[in-house]
């Protein structure tokens, strides 16, 4: 049996992509999206449960004995790209991108297993309470302190926390990091929904005043779980950014073909055409980086996962933002209106670029990993001496 080689796309992945595209077209069109962002939760719990149970799209990389599909991070990335393309609402980042991989990498146990199974089938939702606007750094991930099972501190804005049933908390304990779960309605937990720049992904501030949690992992175990969450979350966020950028490119190209000015389609002008070409090039590079990160998480022989995720984040954050800005520009006036869908994507692109660390912060990681470690005897090219 031939082992798949990097960038091979399986039949199952094609089927998954098609199923999710159909789901988004039929169940989550633009009118639905606009209606849902005005609801308190910002998403439809019944629809979310269908994504989990009918389509299995929330737990593709979760082992089968833990209630998942037993697939790969690449599978989940394929789903993230498609769900991102349609701006499907629901706690994709908080639950699928961060909580689920943290739990998968945490030590097993009745509490962990039950929570994971409930998140996988979409009956419960979770958010990861941590400093989520920076790359993972064991020490700074925690915004909260743990004293035994008592959690105290504040964090935010945290994506998807406003409607989460369970908060997974990255806390600093006396003996290193702690990963704990606390019910959102437990005593000592205050979740305050905030106005969100990204209308399609709500954020909330979380305050814990000695709230009683369940400790799932401590020390190295907690560090491993959180590190895995950032890796997987970073790869899936990158895939989502590719989905956003691809959909915007498609929208823009379609508009450039039908919009007439000066008696011709605006896409026939090179000023417009060349910007579209640059969008295409950027999307293709971003897709390679995002897929590569997912492959590296699945198979350490492919690459160092942290470096691959850093490349994906540095690339895809810039691409989704650039393509979204160009989409507004190439649509002209209509692209700046509330009625056009462009602003919803633009705001998602802005938020995605900041989440889990900006392109700049990941370039810093890349520089540290690649440039600062170069051997002094790395062969330099010949330089003219005149």
């Amino acid at each position: 049996m031939a082992e798949p080689v990097e960038f091979d796309v399986t039949e199952e992945q094609r089927a998954l992509r098609d199923a999710l595209r159909r789901f988004a077209e039929r169940q989550h069109d633009e009118a639905t999206l606009r209606r849902l962002v005005d609801t308190p939760d910002g998403f439809d719990r019944a629809l979310w449960a269908r994504l989990g149970s009918e389509l299995g799209a929330l737990s593709l990389a979760v082992p089968e004995d833990l209630g998942g599909a037993g697939g790969t991070c690449v599978d989940q990335a394929v789903a993230a790209e498609e769900l991102g393309a349609a701006l499907v609402t629901g706690p994709l980042l908080g639950t699928v991108g961060l909580a689920v991989p943290a739990l998968v990498a945490a030590p097993g146990g009745a509490e962990r297993d039950a929570l994971l199974a409930a998140l996988a089938d979409g009956t419960r939702t979770a958010a990861l309470v941590a400093r989520l606007t920076a790359p993972y750094d064991g020490a700074s991930a925690a915004g909260v302190t743990a004293d035994g099972d008592r959690l105290t501190g504040a964090a935010g804005p945290v994506p998807d926390a406003g409607s989460a049933d369970v908060l997974l908390v990255a806390a600093a304990g006396p003996d290193g990091p702690v990963l704990a779960a606390v019910a959102a309605d437990a005593e000592g937990v205050t979740v305050q929904r905030c106005g969100s720049l990204d209308l399609t992904r709500p954020v909330a501030r979380v305050r814990l005043d000695g709230a009683c949690g369940t400790v799932l992992a401590t020390g190295e175990d907690a560090d491993r779980a959180l590190r895995h969450a950032w890796r997987v979350g970073g790869a899936l966020l990158a895939a989502e950014q590719v989905g956003v950028a691809q959909r915007l490119l498609d929208l823009t190209v379609a508009y450039a073909k039908e919009r007439l000015q000066f008696g011709r389609p605006i896409g026939s002008f090179q000023a417009v055409k060349h910007r579209c070409a640059d969008m295409l090039v950027a999307v293709e590079q971003a897709r390679s980086a995002a897929l590569h990160a997912a492959w590296a998480i699945d198979d350490p022989r492919v690459d160092d996962a942290d470096l691959a995720v850093a490349v994906a984040q540095a690339t895809c954050s810039q691409t989704a933002y650039r393509v979204a800005a160009d989409t507004v520009q190439l649509h002209g006036g209509i692209g700046f209106t509330w009625e056009h869908v462009a602003h919803l994507y633009y705001k998602r692109a802005v938020a995605d670029a900041a989440l889990l660390g900006s392109a700049e912060t990941y370039r810093e990681r890349i520089a540290a990993a690649v440039l600062d470690t170069l051997a002094e005897d790395t062969a330099p090219p010949r330089v003219a001496t005149g």
Binding site: F7, V253, P265, C276, S288, R363, A367
Partner: protein, 403 residues
Amino acid sequence: MSSPTTTRPASDAARVAEAARAVLDAHDPRSVPREELFGALYDAGLAWVHHPEGLGGLGLSRGLQAVVDQLVTDAGGPRMFAVNPIGYGMGAPTVVEYGADREQVAAWLRPMVTGEEIWCQLFSEPGAGSDVAGLATSAVRDGDEWVVNGQKVWTTLAHVARWGMLVARTDPERPKHRGLTYFVIDMDQPGVDVRPLRQMTGQAEFNEVHLHDARVLDAHRLGEVGAGWKVAITTLMNERTAIGGVTGRRGSGVIGEALGLWAAHPDRHTPVLRDRLAALWTRAETHRLTLARARRTASAGQPGPEGSVSKLVGAELNQDVYEFCMELLGPDALLYDDWTMDRSRVHTDPNSTVQQRFLRSRANTIEGGTSEVMRNILGERVLGLPGEPRSDSDRPWKEVPRG
């Protein structure tokens, strides 16, 4: 789990690897002449594995050529592409697709891969750069031959070439794309005058080729009379793939030079330059990954427009990396060793200097299709955007203003 589509390439890869190892065992690249090694690879169908059997191939997916190339390189052999780049990369796919006489095609291909007969490409003219279909060199029928007059320019390797891929105008009364015919011309004849074309680096990689009553056999025509543009597109698509399609390991190639300079000059490190290099490295890495992905997903057969993506990205990245290198050189950026024109030195010369490569990189966004034309191709052929209104498409070529 395993379907025929996933297992077949793996067994093909194993078959190709086995055949390549057998050739390398019998013709050790470190001891036999290059001609012998490459001739043996051709005879084993390993020169272009996607060609039909008998024409240097095995009728397999073109992606599997990488298996052969890697084994040859690992065994210490040169790259087949490097020995005769125009012939190997562009001439071969064109003659295989359009050559009517299989024996003639085979007679061209073997010396092409061994490097015994170098090929060049006679497309661009002083009056026809991006608009190459507007070219003016004429070919007039004379019995079994054609008589060619005109001037070609930017012709790589013409001074050592035995064969030239020539596009000439055979009917000036027809609109420009429909009056062209494609030939393979013998460069070794009195009517072909090759002169060096000196470039801004001081060197002359390219040539001007003056054609005065040069002769080409009608038997060496590729495609129908008047259908030369279609044939030329095959050559051009392969040119873009060949230029953009060379990948190595991570951190190798041009970005590797910048890393080498960075490591050698810790005294010149600043946070601003460090971020700039990290950004360039990231672009180089995603370019490398995109080439790998394109190779993996490309179906067997002719390369598609994705070649234009990598050509465009590679060209602009090269320029940006060498601009960074010049910045990093500080005062040394003011220096240049030698402006003497030496035809034996080319830009791929491992001894050429950073300053020389920096100057050479200016051509990257012009040669093989300017970046402006590349963006038109991506916009029109990949994204399906409408073309510019044109004033030359339907008029007889001779009535179109030129200059």
